[in-house]
């Protein structure tokens, strides 16, 4: 299978969260199963932010949710502070929940429209009966204040707030139980650029203030770069490349990473878009993924070996890991054009 291996994981003792060989399956009708995430491993060291980036269908959000055990993965281990969450059941798993929190993409859908902001944010404290009612109130007010929402407005319902403010409320709700890890699933992609910057800055502040470790999932590489200490690129349920952001952006080793980087529109008229860097074709059906390396059907460097043998993740430069038989050398450019149309369609 494409992009397996755990070479990029750090020594077990260092990691706060360690995910090994994660597999998530969904029923696809007619008794068939689709593997949204197949054999993904990752780890988080306390205090760092791991960015997961990829296009729709790459399994990045599913990975995030499977770490939360919502839904539970089909296989693999999610070891959080030494406990394997996939082995926990019922109350034991529930007890771990407040330690891991999530922030979602859609600021409107992630807040209950029929409850006021105070009770939304307080929910975690209520569930776990943390503190006296007064203490809870004070904590809610403090959290709201921290995210830049005036606690005086806590009696309002979510629809009275803008998208950016709703996202702030979501952040307050996530930090109220003092979690160790927060998984941010595309937290800014529904927001306007001017609001997006506010939320990105806020996330960085909250990370310091609450001592958080984060997984930041997004499709926008520039956004991911801005917040991450380490970036993982995914394609069709597999890991392509893991590297520190500056390395990744300066010299991508996986052809897919290079294609992604080239596709980002740059707000600079001097950089004319180059048609030869446009990645052709479409993402193959996850029901019937290509053999060997999953990117090979769209990769100009693909050979028979890529079809026969799945690449293992290996280190190509310090801290830079790639799952590719023929990684790009530093400075090597890749040409995808002329735009091919004869590639497999879904």
């Amino acid at each position: 299978m494409a992009g397996t291996g755990t070479a990029h994981l750090r020594p077990e003792g260092d990691a706060l969260l360690r995910v090994e060989h994660l597999v998530v399956e969904f029923p696809a009708g007619h008794g068939r199963k689709v593997q949204a995430v197949s054999d993904v491993s990752l780890d988080l060291v306390e205090g760092e932010t791991l960015g997961i980036v990829g296009e729709s269908g790459c399994g990045k959000s599913t990975t995030g949710r499977a770490i939360m055990q919502l839904p539970r993965p089909k296989a693999g281990a999610v070891v959080f502070e030494g406990t394997n969450l996939t082995k926990l059941k019922g109350e034991a798993l529930r007890a771990q929940r407040p330690r891991l929190q999530m922030i979602f993409q859609d600021p409107i859908s992630s807040l209950n429209p029929r409850r006021d902001v105070r009770s939304i944010v307080r929910e975690g404290l209520d569930i776990w009966k943390i503190g006296t009612p007064d203490e809870r109130e004070a904590k809610v007010a403090a959290a709201l204040d921290d995210v830049g929402i005036d606690p005086a407005n806590a009696d309002r319902r979510p629809h009275e707030f803008s998208g950016g403010q709703c996202q702030r409320i979501s952040i307050a709700r996530a930090v109220i139980t003092d979690p160790k890890v927060i998984i941010c699933d595309e937290p800014v992609s529904a927001l306007d650029v001017s609001v997006q910057a506010q939320i990105l800055n806020l996330l960085d502040e909250m990370k310091d203030r609450y001592g958080l470790t984060m997984i930041f999932i997004a499709h926008d590489l520039a956004v991911v770069k801005n917040v991450s200490d380490r970036v993982m690129v995914m394609y069709l349920g597999k890991v392509c490349e893991v590297a520190p952001p500056d390395t990744l952006y300066a010299r991508p080793a996986h052809p897919y990473t290079a294609a992604l980087l080239a596709a980002i529109p740059v707000p600079d008229p001097a950089q004319r878009p180059d048609p030869t860097t446009v990645l052709a074709g479409e993402i193959p059906s996850p029901l019937d993924p290509p053999s060997g390396c999953r990117f090979r059907t769209r990769c100009p460097k693909a050979t028979e070996r890529c079809a026969a043998e799945e690449p293992e993740i290996r280190e190509v430069s310090p801290g830079q890991f790639v799952a590719c038989h023929f990684p790009l050398a530093p400075g090597e450019t890749i040409t995808f054009g002329p735009t091919r149309t004869d590639l497999p369609q879904i």
């Binding site: 296009e55 729709s56 803008s162 950016g164 306007d192 650029v193 001017s194 609001v195 997006q196 910057a197 506010q198 990105l200 800055n201 960085d204 499709h219 926008d220 590489l221 520039a222 956004v223 770069k225 801005n226 917040v227 991450s228 200490d229 952001p245 500056d246 952006y249 294609a259 992604l260 980087l261 080239a262 596709a263 980002i264 529109p265 740059v266 707000p267 600079d268 008229p269 001097a270 950089q271 004319r272 878009p273 048609p275 860097t277 446009v278 990645l279 052709a280 479409e282 993402i283 735009t339 149309t341 004869d342 590639l343 369609q345 879904i346």
Partner: protein, 346 residues
């Protein structure tokens, strides 16, 4: 000012909607000109009125509740004077439009082929088989593989990128002189976005077609538009030929917009400059300059008196500001990120 090859001239366009909560002045006094074969980028956040502007020019407004005033001349013809039937003739043949969401812009229960040929039949006197051939050729020209087979398929059988290609084929079917592309790639993945943008650019070159590209992403138009107009709260706040806009921008909003986008060439964890607050609602826009409540350089005058659109130094450059910022070209190379306002200019 009017050049010989002027295709579209919009003068003082106002569009408002009567809603339950008051009159929304979505487009408030916009003027623009576009020459044949050129590309105009309209950039703005959600709520800036850019989509309504495009639909107003097209005449695609709801029957009731929408009011449009001002002049729209297309090849000298005043569009407001056209009868509904003439206007329908105009649509598709002279002006066409592609929309943001390819998932919902095609009729889900009608075959792809039919959706293209019906546009051809509506406007051109051709027989069935000829229309079919034209449709196949169109699909081929937008690089849809196996066009004959695709003709018999339904939209849900195609991916998002392919559907947007079909939408482009439909829009191009009768050879329009002007194409509106309303956020054509917002709903698409970044590599697919690159494909679709490239396709639009190529078709535009081949057909000598003018394009109005509406987007919230300055990056999308930076390398592709000849001219860019920045909209804020229903008005154009800055307009210039693309290169000029980026080097000579004077309007604080344009600058803030540009600097709040996370960029790949910035190091990670760079703090983003943000625009505080959020765009105003258009029922009760703020008095004076509409950006004043969020502007770092706003002074008393900005809050009472609305600045007119004034010409900048470079030809074709106009902006709407009492206290414009120093353009990037005039800042010291190492310069502080934000230019000090020049008091009293204009």
């Amino acid at each position: 000012m009017e050049r010989d090859d002027t295709l579209l001239q919009v003068t003082d366009l106002h569009t408002s909607f009567a809603t339950g909560r008051g009159t929304v002045r979505a487009v408030d006094g916009v003027s623009l000109t576009l020459a044949a074969g050129r590309t105009l980028g309209i950039v703005g956040e959600s709520g800036s009125g850019k989509t309504v502007l495009a639909r107003s020019i097209m005449g695609l407004l709801p029957k009731r509740g929408a009011t449009r005033t001002g002049s729209i001349r297309f090849e000298g013809q005043e569009i407001g004077e056209l009868s509904p039937k003439d206007l329908r003739d105009f649509w598709g043949r002279q002006m066409a439009m592609i929309f943001q969401d390819p998932m919902t812009s095609l009729n889900p229960v009608m075959k792809i082929g039919k959706q293209i040929t019906e546009a051809i039949h509506e406007h051109l006197e051709v027989d069935r088989s000829h229309a079919r051939e034209m449709a196949v050729a169109l699909l081929r020209s937008v690089r849809i593989p196996e066009p004959e087979r695709r003709m018999k398929e339904y939209p849900h059988q195609l991916s998002g990128g392919m559907r947007q290609r079909v939408c482009i084929a439909v829009a191009l079917a009768c050879g329009p002189a002007l194409l509106f592309a309303d956020e054509p790639t917002t709903a698409l993945d970044v590599t697919v976005q690159a494909q679709v943008l490239e396709l639009i650019a190529q078709q535009q070159r081949e057909r000598h077609m003018a394009t109005i590209m509406i987007t919230h992403d300055l990056g999308v138009v930076a390398g592709r538009a000849d001219e860019i107009a920045v909209m804020y709260a229903g008005r154009i706040v800055e307009r210039a030929p693309t290169a000029v806009l980026f080097s000579e921008l004077r309007m604080p909003y344009t600058q803030a917009l540009l600097s709040s986008i996370p960029r790949l060439d910035q190091p990670s964890h760079a703090r983003l400059s943000t625009i505080p607050g959020r765009p105003p609602n258009l029922i009760t826009p703020p008095p004076g300059c509409r950006f004043a409540p969020r502007c770092a350089f706003a002074q008393d005058r900005c809050r009472t008196e609305e600045p007119p659109l004034v010409a900048g130094d470079a030809p074709g450059h106009e902006y709407r500001c009492w206290f414009p910022v120093d353009p990037p070209s005039r800042r010291p190379a190492t310069g502080t990120p934000v230019g000090a306002p020049n008091g009293g200019e204009a």
